[in-house]
């Protein structure tokens, strides 16, 4: 009897347990962003909106968050642009050391972050570049490029060369072919790569920590703050990021569904 029950519902029980396990930290973070904490945000002291309303009063929270966003955007822009060009070159052109280039591009993904972080730090020291926003951006761009190349490359490889040929046949110059045919067809891959880059850059801690000097990003701020007790404002930012991500996903899904419906109606 009990055996039957288990064999029937095992999968459900596992699924629920897995979700609880995954979601508890997130739920905890969100709930405690409303905690009326005074010094430490460990035990529940009552509900308040103050943390959300007076967010930037807590020293360093908003600044570090802003820093992370700026670093993320700049690194994403650089990595996506360079990575896309590299991906196209790798698929379309035959040149010496093409295979070697591919291998070298994969290397940063396989290397432990701590090795990359210390290596870069040593390099910046040798080159005499003072640690700060610039070094962080350079470091992030470097490891994001690999992910961009891998993502966009697959898209380029699946692109039918006949599309571009048709463009050329229809009087489009090479630049026009790229802007009107190649780029739009690669766009889904490029967007995916950009989102991935931003996410990687935004929550990178190890490499940043080795290369930032006095410059503080949000993960670095959290790390320092944790030592003396995490302020509730950190939970606010974390929750806000979570909600923004969820909203972005929901909106894109809804608009895709609406578009499908509109096309179906025609």
């Amino acid at each position: 009897m009990i055996g039957r029950f288990f064999s029937r519902y095992t999968i459900w029980i596992y699924a629920v347990l897995a979700f609880v396990f995954l979601l508890i930290p997130i739920a905890y973070t969100i709930v405690f962003s409303f905690n009326d904490s005074r010094r430490t945000n460990i035990s529940w002291r009552g509900f308040t909106l103050d943390n959300w309303v007076y967010l930037c009063d807590e020293q360093g929270v908003c600044q570090s968050f802003l820093n992370s966003v700026i670093v993320g955007l700049v690194a994403t822009l650089l990595a996506t642009t360079l990575g896309t060009m590299i991906a196209i070159a790798l698929v379309r052109y035959r040149f010496r050391f093409r295979a070697a280039t591919t291998l070298l591009l994969f290397l940063p993904m396989a290397t432990p972050e701590i090795v990359l972080g210390t290596g870069l730090a040593a390099e910046f020291l040798t080159a005499g570049i003072p640690k700060g926003a610039l070094t962080v951006i350079l470091a992030h761009t470097m490891f994001c490029i690999s992910f961009v190349v891998v993502t966009v490359r697959a898209r380029v490889a699946s692109l039918d060369p006949a599309m571009e040929e048709a463009g050329r046949d229809l009087y489009a110059s090479p630049g026009q072919v790229f802007m009107r045919v190649t780029f739009p067809l690669l766009l889904p891959g490029i967007i995916a790569a950009a989102l991935l880059s931003f996410a990687l850059s935004f929550d990178d801690f190890i490499i940043t920590n080795f290369n930032s000097g006095p410059f503080t990003t949000f993960p670095k701020y959290l790390y320092t703050a944790a030592a003396k007790g995490m302020p509730a404002e950190a939970n606010v930012v974390a929750s806000a990021v979570f909600f923004i991500a969820i909203i972005a996903v929901v909106v894109s899904q809804l608009s895709a569904a609406a578009r499908r419906k509109r096309l179906a109606k025609q």
Partner: protein
């Protein structure tokens, strides 16, 4: 660069074009002149180099040797977008991210021609697809996509239009209708059409000139009737319609005709219809030119008679009946007879003689020892497979 619509067609000249792919020669010393304003059909078995020829003319492929002239201008080294040429691709190659209308207007917009959308709608009406103008290509059937591809190229009114099997995916009725539309467009403006097709009837009915291509070379070209009535090679004789071919030795080479001894039977062929006049030759006659006789006909000058043979197959096909007759030492002979009376004239197993007017025979250029020239293993599908394999290899290597 081509600005505005072409006022008239341009002539196309290929001079000694050779195209080699790594390890494979697709086109060998191709010489071809297509006069302005003509409808030129290119026929040939799969993999003989038809698409490659069009790609060379469009500029999507560079020739290994030779020159390409359009309207007298050497365009061998110019870029595709600078040539007054448009292509209807065999694979359609529609832009998946654009609507049908945007696809059709693409070329017009690039050349900044006035009212691109209006003209695109007009072209879509021509192929009866204006009602799907706002759809994406993926939402169309294969035949509809093909018609969009046709509209997208035709709308530009190029001096030279390259059509790579543009009607292959259409049903018979629509195909006939599109043939008429195409022919109208072509003769209205006097554009030059280079049309690749597998449909012999299409080539014969639409084209001014038909060229039969085999293994990267033009075997024979000329007016459709000429090609059919007087094939010069065994390949053409069998590729365009069917032929009965016999091989023998010339025993008498006269002023008017030659006499060929085929395994003891003397067959006469007019001298000007024979490509070779001495030695071993292959001669032929079309199946519909043969007459069946149930008794030995009296030998008359100007008529060839073979037989007796035995009918081994009769197949009725509506307007005509096809007989297969085994003639000892000559092999199998095919006869098409018009159905003038009810039912077949002779039955399976009957003893018959075959006769034809000497004027209908033809003599071929081939060396009879050459054997068949068909090699059916290279088609576009195998190119696709080859390409994919190459790509996979590279991906692995990477």
């Amino acid at each position: 660069m081509a600005g505005g619509f072409a006022e008239a067609g341009a002539d196309l000249e290929l001079v000694g074009i050779t195209k080699r792919f790594p390890g494979f020669t697709a086109i060998e010393e191709l010489n071809l002149t297509i006069p302005a304003g003509s409808f030129f059909a290119l026929l040939g078995p799969s993999g003989c180099g038809k698409t490659t020829t069009l790609r060379l003319v469009a500029g999507l492929e560079d020739p290994t040797a030779g020159r390409i002239l359009i309207g007298g201008k050497d365009v061998t080294t110019t870029k595709p977008y600078q040539r007054p040429v448009n292509t209807v691709f065999q694979s359609y190659a529609l832009f998946p991210h654009m609507t049908v209308l945007e696809n059709v207007a693409f070329g017009l917009k690039r050349r900044r021609i006035a009212d691109p959308l209006g003209k695109a709608h007009e072209a879509l009406r021509l192929v009866e697809l204006d009602h799907v103008a706002q759809r994406k290509p993926a939402q169309l059937s294969g035949g509809q996509q093909q018609r969009v591809a046709l509209a997208r190229a035709v709308v530009n009114r190029p001096a030279l239009l390259l059509l790579d099997e543009p009607l292959g995916a259409l049903d018979l009725k629509l195909r006939r209708q599109m043939q008429i539309e195409l022919k109208d467009i072509q003769s209205d403006v006097g554009l030059t059409f280079l049309h690749v097709t597998h449909d012999q009837e299409e080539a014969m009915t639409m084209a001014d000139t038909v060229a039969v291509m085999n293994k990267g070379q033009i075997e024979q070209m000329g007016a459709p009737e000429e090609l059919y009535e007087l094939p010069k090679t065994a390949f053409v004789a069998n590729f365009l319609g069917q032929s009965n071919l016999f091989t023998g030795t010339v025993t008498n080479s006269g002023k008017e005709s030659i006499i060929v001894d085929v395994a003891g039977t003397k067959i006469e062929v007019p001298r000007e219809r024979a490509q070779r006049h001495a030695g071993e030759v292959t001669i032929g006659v079309r199946p519909e030119k043969l007459m069946l006789h149930t008794s030995a006909p009296k030998p008359t000058p100007g008529t060839n008679v073979i037989g007796p043979g035995r009918v081994n197959d009769v197949s009725f096909s509506g307007v005509s009946t096809q007989y297969s007759v085994t003639v000892p030492k000559l092999g199998n002979v095919i006869v098409f007879a018009q159905n003038m009376v009810f039912g077949p004239v002779v039955n399976d197993g009957a003893e018959v003689w075959l006769a034809w007017t000497v004027d209908h025979g033809f003599g071929l250029l081939d060396d009879p020892a050459d054997g068949p020239r068909f090699e059916p293993d290279t088609d576009t599908k195998s190119i696709a497979v080859q390409r994919r394999e190459k790509l996979e290899e590279e991906l692995e290597e990477a």
